[in-house]
């Protein structure tokens, strides 16, 4: 229940933040990387750092993470297949061999089928997701955004303490 409330807070907080639709979309895209790929990996530390340091919607990032976690679990077999196909493609073997024998890079676990498959999938999804989210947020704000902002439900959600924490990272 708490997770659901938190998710709704993130959703409304992000939609009605002062950030531009582009910032919100970029945040969701970065968050989708966290949700789609196995979490405990170096690339996710980089993604998280980017989410914090770059002027994108942090709430959007949290929202994207929460939204894409179930898809990550659901699509694991697909990621495994993508990663397996890529890692065993003969023409890519020299490239992967170089990466595998470089410092630091192997620590990213790129040579794991699920990690590589999910990363590639998230990368391919990034652009359409960014465009679609940006368009969606723009349309939302132009149509029903103002009415939602006036609703009691919105005020109840934004009045909670969690929202205050979120405001620390608002764009």
């Amino acid at each position: 229940m708490f997770a659901l409330i938190k998710l709704m807070q993130s959703l409304f907080g992000a939609l009605h933040s002062e950030g531009t639709p582009g910032q919100l979309a970029a945040g969701i895209v970065l968050g989708s990387f966290l949700g789609l790929t196995p979490l405990v990996n170096i690339h996710n530390a980089v993604i998280f750092a980017a989410l914090v340091v770059l002027n994108v919607s942090f709430a959007g990032g949290m929202l994207g993470w929460a939204l894409f976690i179930p898809f990550g679990f659901l699509l694991d077999p697909v990621f495994d297949w993508i990663g397996h196909t890529l890692l065993f493609t003969p023409s890519l073997t020299p490239f992967f061999t170089s990466l595998y024998n470089m410092p630091i890079v192997p620590l990213t676990n790129f040579n794991n089928t699920v990690v590589l498959g999910s990363l590639v999938f998230a990368g391919v999804l990034a652009v359409p997701l960014y465009v679609a989210t940006r368009l969606g947020v723009t349309r939302y704000r132009a149509t029903i955004g103002a009415r939602v902002r006036q609703s009691r439900f919105y005020r109840a959600v934004t009045a909670s303490k969690v929202y205050n924490v979120y405001k620390m990272f608002r764009p």
Partner: protein
């Protein structure tokens, strides 16, 4: 005064890429992570080592304490326990202390290079309180698959246990449908009928009747003819020619009949050999004890002798999976996590470091640690690596001591891996065990065991020997009233020594197993003496059963074949006799007519 120009920066605030105020919290987070790592690195590495070790070996790996000293490149492991993948409440080994010297720089490439390990207080085969098998229960991962494969491999050597519990010989029910003689007899009967029809048709096509009638008429004319009646004489000669041609056809038919008869006779003989096969099949249904010494040896010791081979093969196959030859990309099971593990693919590169390398390990271990004077030994392991082709040298293990000589070499440098191991261990107290199928328990006492193992590609040659000069026999109470038990007990209880040898050779998927022991002859001789008559009686009974089932079908077939052959031969003989008789009469009459009578 003109109005001041509006500042464009006030009209459109500049978009900032970075959120500089978040740097602080991020740095704080990094510091927290660093502090947590500093506090819990030992625990994390210990946990990961246990998890990876368990996954790789298929048996629980436990570490009491681990200390990571990265600046000095040292890892200290205390209280290492590795459970046996095969036995539930036994450890494969325990080590009091392991000190490893690491190369730190390759860690940045996720490569573990250990220059030296000093292992102290190694102990083997110690008991444990919980079941430490993992692969045997889950069947997952590489270890699980290898374990399943080796178990399946070992299952092909299931030798029937000697049926000596009661000394009785039993016969399973004999299903007539599984006897080959009956369908063979039915087929022969059909062939006989077919031959009879064919021969009858052949006789009909000879058309001997008109020839014989014509010849008879000519003979009659010739009897009343004179020497000058040339037309009648010519007709007689033509009749003789026709008779000769008819006899030629009869001869051809006779040859065909002879061939057919021989074929039917062969069919009858075939029925006899088929019946002998049925005897053999029925004999296989008898639960007879093995009476030959080699079979006795296999029945007694094969189940126990195959276990060491199975275990060594398990570790060898595991080594082949984790230490594959060549430089092609190889996949292994990924790390266990909430998400799907996937596969980790390794990409070895020429002139680069392997993913894992243990250059040298100094081993100090105890054998029989529970005894009053445990034996201390030393060993050395070199070149254990995940990429033998990169390291360029085989993995070698040597251990020696007063009663131990052991060595192993895993040569996966070339395309065809060659794994060799040999060990001789003396003074080992083996636990007493019940000899399968024989009413005795054997306590080998302090025995010497030898193991030789060579797996060259897919060809295996292995030998396992147990020798003991002071065995003790205990009678199994379950056979107290068994006459056979008495005899076996008397045969073996006086034997003071034990000498068992098992040999395995051939293609790995289906090698030959030969087991012999000094008990084989003693037990086999006793069995033959006692059970020989019973076996003969059982075999006689079994033959009678087969005969009873088969004779009902074979007898009529045999009679039918004889009848068909007699009929055909008689018919041929009869026709031939008529032809001959007519020809003879015609020729005689011609001679009478054409003879010149002198006045």
């Amino acid at each position: 005064m003109s109005a001041p120009a509006p500042d464009s920066r006030l009209q459109a605030p500049r978009f900032k890429i970075f959120r500089w105020r978040a740097i602080g919290p991020l740095l704080v987070l990094l510091v927290i992570v660093a502090v947590l790592w500093w506090l819990f690195a030992d625990t994390i590495v210990r946990h990961e080592s246990q998890q990876v070790g368990t996954q790789m070996l298929g048996a629980r790996v436990e570490i009491e304490r681990l200390h990571l000293d990265i600046p000095h490149g040292k890892v200290l492991v205390y209280g290492l326990t590795i459970a046996s993948p095969h036995e539930a409440f036994k450890n494969l080994l325990q080590a009091d202390e392991l000190v490893a010297d690491l190369d730190v720089v390759p860690l940045t490439e996720k490569k573990l290079i250990i220059n030296r390990i000093a292992a102290n207080g190694l102990r083997f085969g110690t008991p444990r309180e919980t079941d430490g098998r993992v692969a045997a229960k889950s069947g997952e991962g590489i270890a699980g698959r290898v374990l399943a494969e080796t178990r399946e491999w070992a299952s092909q050597f299931q030798v029937p246990v000697l049926q000596l519990a009661t000394g009785k010989i039993t016969i399973d029910s004999l299903d007539p449908r599984r006897l080959a003689t009956i369908p063979a007899a039915e087929a022969l009967s059909a062939r006989a009928d077919s031959s009879a029809r064919a021969w009858k048709a052949a006789f009909d096509t000879l058309r001997l009747g008109p020839t014989l009638d014509s010849a008879s008429a000519t003979l009659e004319q010739l009897r009343h003819a004179r020497a000058t009646d040339l037309s009648t004489i010519n007709a007689a000669r033509q009749a003789i020619d026709r008779l000769k041609r008819a006899r030629g056809r009869v001869t051809t038919l006779e040859n065909g009949v002879k061939t057919g008869v021989a074929d039917l006779q062969a069919g009858l003989a075939g029925l006899d050999s088929t019946r002998r096969r049925d005897y053999a099949f029925a004999r296989s249904l008898l639960k007879l004890p093995s009476l030959d010494a080699p079979e006795v040896g296999a029945a007694l010791f094969a189940p126990g002798a195959i276990k060491p081979f199975e275990q060594v093969l398990y570790y060898t196959q595991l080594a082949r999976r984790y230490m594959p030859p060549g430089l092609l990309p190889r996949a292994t099971t990924g790390p266990s996590r909430v998400r799907r593990a996937g596969e980790d693919v390794r990409f070895p590169k020429e002139r680069a470091l392997p993913g894992f390398l243990l250059r040298s390990a100094e081993l100090s271990f105890l054998l029989q640690p529970a005894s009053a004077q445990p034996q201390r030994y030393a060993g050395r392991l070199t070149g254990l690596t995940s990429d033998p082709a990169l390291y360029g040298r085989p993995t070698a293990l040597v251990a020696s001591g007063s009663q131990l000589a052991a060595g192993a070499m895993l040569n996966h440098v070339r395309d065809i891996p060659v794994d060799t191991a040999g060990a001789t261990v003396g003074g080992i107290r083996l636990s007493a065990f019940a000899v399968p199928g024989v009413p005795v328990r054997l306590d080998p006492g302090a025995a010497t065991t030898q193991l030789g193992f060579n797996l060259n590609g897919d060809t295996i040659h292995a030998r396992f020997v147990i020798r003991s000069g002071n065995v003790r026999w205990t009678r199994d109470s379950g056979f107290a009233n068994s006459a056979i038990g008495d005899l076996i007990w008397r045969a073996v209880s006086g034997i003071p020594n034990l000498d068992v040898e098992a040999r395995l050779s051939g293609a790995l998927h289906h090698p030959d197993l030969a087991v012999r022991s000094n008990l084989d002859q003693a037990i086999a001789a006793r069995l033959k003496a006692v059970l020989g008559e019973q076996v003969a009686a059982a075999e006689k009974q079994m033959r009678a059963r087969v005969d009873a089932l088969v004779n009902d079908r074979v007898g009529p077939v045999r009679a039918r074949v004889t009848d068909v052959q007699n009929q055909a031969q008689a018919q041929v003989a009869q026709q031939r006799a008529r032809l001959n008789e007519l020809q003879k009469q015609l020729e005689q009459r011609l001679r009478d007519l054409t003879r010149i009578r002198l006045p």
